[in-house]
Symmetry: D2
Subunit: 432 residues, 4 copies
């Protein structure tokens, strides 16, 4: 958790306070379940709910001695609950509490991340609709390709975030798991009904086979979903960084009054937010490999995953949460420059119509290969002139073209509307 | 693709022959669709289906000149199809073919991987049911914990593979995508109905927004699902390697007559298959980061992902396919040694009953902390004696215990059935 | 930085206080250099050294407005220095300060890590020499191979840490770099002599070409060295975890009085420190990929690396520092059990001598393949008997063996001294 | 190994033919050493050198039965050598051959990679010197910063590759290791003098402690050096891709006559080689994590590393070798466009001089903060006008500026030579 990239909403989920509160709830619900089946006396759960409490500093103190966090917590809880405390945690093992609580924290985090994705989606949808028909050049390989619209670009990113929403939801489902199965997962000392009861109360599902811990393939899948989402953020961020380049200038991050782009060069306005997001994406992705390495625990469990998760779980969740909010803000406030888009679109002297010319030649009976050569021959001259020579002029002057396409038809070909005719079709599919 | 870790079934999917066949199908179906909307003359599709063919060596030859694989393919295809060929690929861009075909290859691979997972699951289910009640020690941290059954262990791995089956199925759905949207994805030169038609014929769904390429977050998710599956294989492999250790000897990989464990030490029988699987898991996992790095392509697309996918796609699919089949074979033929399991279970002089003793003390009115200390005090003596001193004897001789638990009740506590009473419950949940 | 895995010595290096102090030193030395070449008036450096100061909270406050950390720092510094402050940072760009200071922090960290490695080496050397001739079984594939000594095992780990020491030293050299070259690295506004001067004062070397930032391939190499060191820690940790397994019990982590191994099972003594180190190794390794992804910055620099380094630099340094100290402590206090080592060594009924028997047969004129078969034939019987049948007895009774090796010679072969005769040779090479 | 990204020089190193030839050499030299110390009869080495041979297909056939590659090789070798063969491999274990041979292959690969790096360096040096004083804009964050020269850009990349050369050389040293220490590494069955002898003959150094295998931290370091080199390739590739963007057009990959940029858009010339190199860098990097995961082998060795290395070793070496040659070729043939560089440099109406103006104001007695505001105020107007309004004109008209800097001095400030005055200093440092 890097303070400057941390929102309190997410940080709170990963603070000891929240963790211990969940532990206490699990223990209290487990007592309720144990009372139902008469394993412990009536009244224990009530005592926990009414008098149960904990003190983080005190728990730390006890843990320093016993070197076991759950025992430290239970000892402290007993200091509040009193007599009835000896029935708390009956037949359970630490992992029953630890892993179920970890599930709850991941579930809470996923819910917050989903809100973040939805905010990005809302921003993208709004800006996409504003610029549904704003013409700009589509680029492949960084090279001008054919006309498209800025709205269509944003619609593509919207669709990617929508897929991420589904992935995080699926990851949340996958991790919304309760395991209360006792030592080595046999339910020898705790009846399966306790697990079912607690799961139900906590909004979780019981694990199929828990071997004391919840199997870590679930968590690996969870962090994979986060990493893909981070990469989708990177994709949009790289797009914006490209658009803000001095030579391109089609969009620009909001630049606050009073902001300084550079300590040395007062003229600078840099895309620092999306550069930052590019870096944050790398951080979130770095959780995936450790999460995968955590899967192969020894026998019924070892504890090597624990230190890993103390690092990656808060770090990946907090960083992705922050990144989503920042991404949304960037999109919401993005300065979009349609005039520059049009200027760039026209920069290459009409080359963007090259395919359409080729197709028209083909339809007029010229073999594809020959058509390609004719068009490329003219296009390269325009290319070399940096767009100063106009493609349309060259084509009109080329006898092989003129033979097949009358000048008036050529004029009609150089028409941007041709490229936007299906934008509404795509918008219907994405937003409809 | 490492030859010794390659099955022909999967390798074939990734051979040029299969790729070009899919390309040809896509082009042919696209022609059908174009004929329906009268963009190209009737009869082109028929010509492709009837005369269409390709020659891998010839394509290589053409590509060496034009430096573009799809153009090389189309040129070669035209050599077979003849006249009508000039209407093939009309209005399409290379990625329409490349990406849709790549989807098909990944889909075919996923189907084969699912069969592999199912074979592992079948093997695990069979062996789990055979050994449903075979007692063995459950271990946490590599240290004896409490009794469990070997069937329960295998049931846990079965459940993990079942989750992987669902993940690979979801990844297959996610990647079963067709994109035929033309240059920079505007459908300017190709009607959306072509995409819908081809998608339907090829068993795919159209991409929401394809910006010329199918967005790589889909592929990143695909390889993540493979990586998690590989890690689940590693988990089971590590379990078997542990069980085969000389000091443990609870299970052993099948050792073929004529096999040599070591060139130097003729007595050796090593778990080389599961060690190998542990390594193969690392290889499959190594595809995840490059796949994530592929997501942030520049603007409407760049081609940096292409070389990456030429490596990771066949490698990860072929390696995981091989690993699944080997994993299944290992489980099917695994030598399981119930006698050794029982010997190990009894090795620690009854310590495995320690929790139950503690719980009984608690239920008899001793505070949890005090009960823990009483039990630990006796347990450590047994531990130090390496199990030669019997835990039951010490407990009977401990006045604090004797006061609360009569000897006969203590005898009854030292009973393995206590730990297996819910095995059928779990089996019902997993296999029921 | 996870508090429980953090030592203050390392954490302090990464605190704002230390960072800003280094920034101030760089600025002060730069002023000295600028005064020498008369770019700024005499007395500025003196003013900075005498009145220069900073307040972390105040810097945060300013940064919240100007959104630029170096400008915020300089503004705050000026509040202390007064009039002369306007000559501070003259001609420099933020990265000159940021990157040079980051080098210093990494250098300081490397020095602390080297101390940690040396502590581990010292512990390993001491324990290795104590147990130079303590016999134990050497295992390949987890299966008993041939006798070795526990000292030799530890000597191997010592040699690995010694290599890591050299790697971290090389990484420190690689990163001990100063860059003061101004905007886009041209030295247009700051004379190269300033860089040379500051580098010399700070114990650094000037960067060859700095393009405003110090190229990130240096940092990638730095984190790679840390990751390899973490993996070497993992290797030793896995060894200890294996040795502590209940069935093996050849070594055990120190178990403090009052410690609790399990909340549920009072008999447990788990290798939690080395399990923890296994996890910490995964965390340290996770810094490598982001560090490699940081190398390809755009043009003369972008700032995507910054957020990454705010995470991985303190995290990897702090975690590895903690891990090294914990590793050293584990080795220093490790309970080593020579009796159990001998018991395990003898467990397989003499199979550990199989190679020597085979070699003797070969030297007696039997072809290698035939000798292998003869030995394997007898070995497998011992193997199946779990060591109850004695290998020596079987060999004596095997006519093909008896024909070539008299019984007395066979007896002489079953002698552990044969395997330890070169231990002193290796010790000389490693520790000599 | 992806055929299209493979050079035969490197592929041959990784073919079975080369591997078995090295195995044979190791065995022959080991025989020489064994003869010297009279462990085997004189004449065995001679027999191996004279009659020794192998047949890859036959080895495969034998391995299919014995499931052990070294035994299969030795069996085949014996078929050629005859009688004396039974003394070959005396006292050695498979890993002695496997690991030492693997070292040789990695050493050979490193030598080829070093040649590749040197070719890139030569190309960069030549082009850097050609364009030492070719003015272009330096960019930070993708935004115009200050003037620099194209030669200086290339010099920076040269310096990075030079560092990589040193890293690969160090990695080669680190891996030039011979281990012939017998089972579990005790030299019980093979005298240390054999190792020393073979190491010397093969140009290697003996391992300090080899525990049967050469410790994998060496290999992890090797692949890390390759990954950093790949990232440095990516860095230069990304630079070229940026420079080739349509709006930038300062450099362009060589475009062969007959080449087709796009099947759909005949006007395209895409930076496909550097995009490809960006992808290949991802592939090479993907070897690092598996190599790190290979370090923690169990006890004296397990074999999980083997399958990993069968994949990553040829793949990473072949891919990096190809990438270096392609990178060199791209630089050698790169079309560099000084006119466009100048056009872009002037695009922002003189804003690139902003820092120098600010510094002049400061030196004229204006506080840094005030100077920054004055300059930023004028710069933002130029920025908004997209460079149409000239910065120099605005400054002359700004009374706060005019008060401090006379117009003639302002004119003198707008001078590119100011930014190139130290280029020769840097060139001396880098190439001198």
């Amino acid at each position: 958790m890097i303070p400057r990239y941390t929102r309190q909403e997410m940080a709170k989920i990963w603070e000891p306070e929240n963790k211990y509160r969940i532990w206490m709830e699990i223990e209290a619900y487990a007592c309720e379940a144990q009372e139902i089946i008469d394993v412990i006396p009536k009244g224990v759960a009530k005592a926990v709910w009414e008098r149960g409490n904990f003190d983080v500093a005190r728990i730390d103190e006890i843990e320093a001695e016993v070197k076991h966090d759950v025992i430290a917590f239970l000892t402290n809880l007993a200091e509040y609950v009193g007599e009835e405390a000896r029935f708390v945690h009956q037949g359970m093992t630490s992992s029953d509490v630890l892993d179920t609580a970890f599930s709850v924290q991941l579930k809470q985090s996923a819910e917050l991340l989903e809100q973040g994705i939805e905010r990005v989606m809302a921003a993208l949808e709004k800006r996409a609709k504003e610029h549904m028909m704003t013409l700009c050049i589509g680029r492949s390989h960084g090279i001008h390709g054919e006309p498209t619209t800025f709205g269509l670009k944003l619609a593509g990113h919207y669709a990617a975030f929508k897929r991420c929403l589904a992935r995080v939801q699926a990851a949340r489902e996958e991790i919304s798991i309760c395991a209360i199965s006792g030592a080595v997962g046999t339910y020898a000392t705790v009846d399966p009904s306790v697990e079912t009861y607690v799961a139900d109360k906590m909004g979780l599902k019981p694990e199929d086979v828990s071997t004391q811990v919840i199997p870590r393939d679930r968590h690996a899948m969870f962090f994979s979903a986060l990493a893909v989402t981070a990469s989708v953020i990177e994709n949009l961020s790289v797009e914006i960084r490209h658009l803000q380049r001095t030579e391109v200038r089609e969009a620009e991050e909001f630049f606050a009054s009073g902001q300084k782009g550079s300590s040395a060069m007062p003229h600078k306005r840099n895309p620092i937010l999306t550069e930052n997001l590019t870096g944050l994406a790398r951080l979130v992705r770095s959780a995936v490999i450790p999460a995968l390495e955590n899967v192969a625990l020894w026998h019924e469990r070892d504890i090597s995953h624990s230190s890993v998760e103390r690092g990656i779980a808060p770090d990946a969740c907090v960083t992705l949460d922050f990144a989503l909010q920042r991404m949304a803000m960037v999109v919401e406030k993005l300065t979009i420059m349609p005039d520059n888009m049009m200027k760039n679109l026209e920069q290459m002297g009409g080359l963007v119509f090259s395919q359409r010319v080729m197709l028209t030649l083909t339809q007029a009976g010229i073999a594809r290969e020959a058509a390609y050569r004719i068009v490329q021959r003219n296009a390269m001259k325009v290319w070399e002139s940096e767009g100063k020579t106009k493609f349309l002029d060259l084509l009109k002057a080329d006898s092989e073209v003129a033979e097949k396409i009358p000048a008036s038809e050529l004029d009609a070909i150089f028409n941007y509307a041709y490229y936007t005719k299906n934008v509404d079709y795509v918008f219907d599919r994405v937003f409809g």
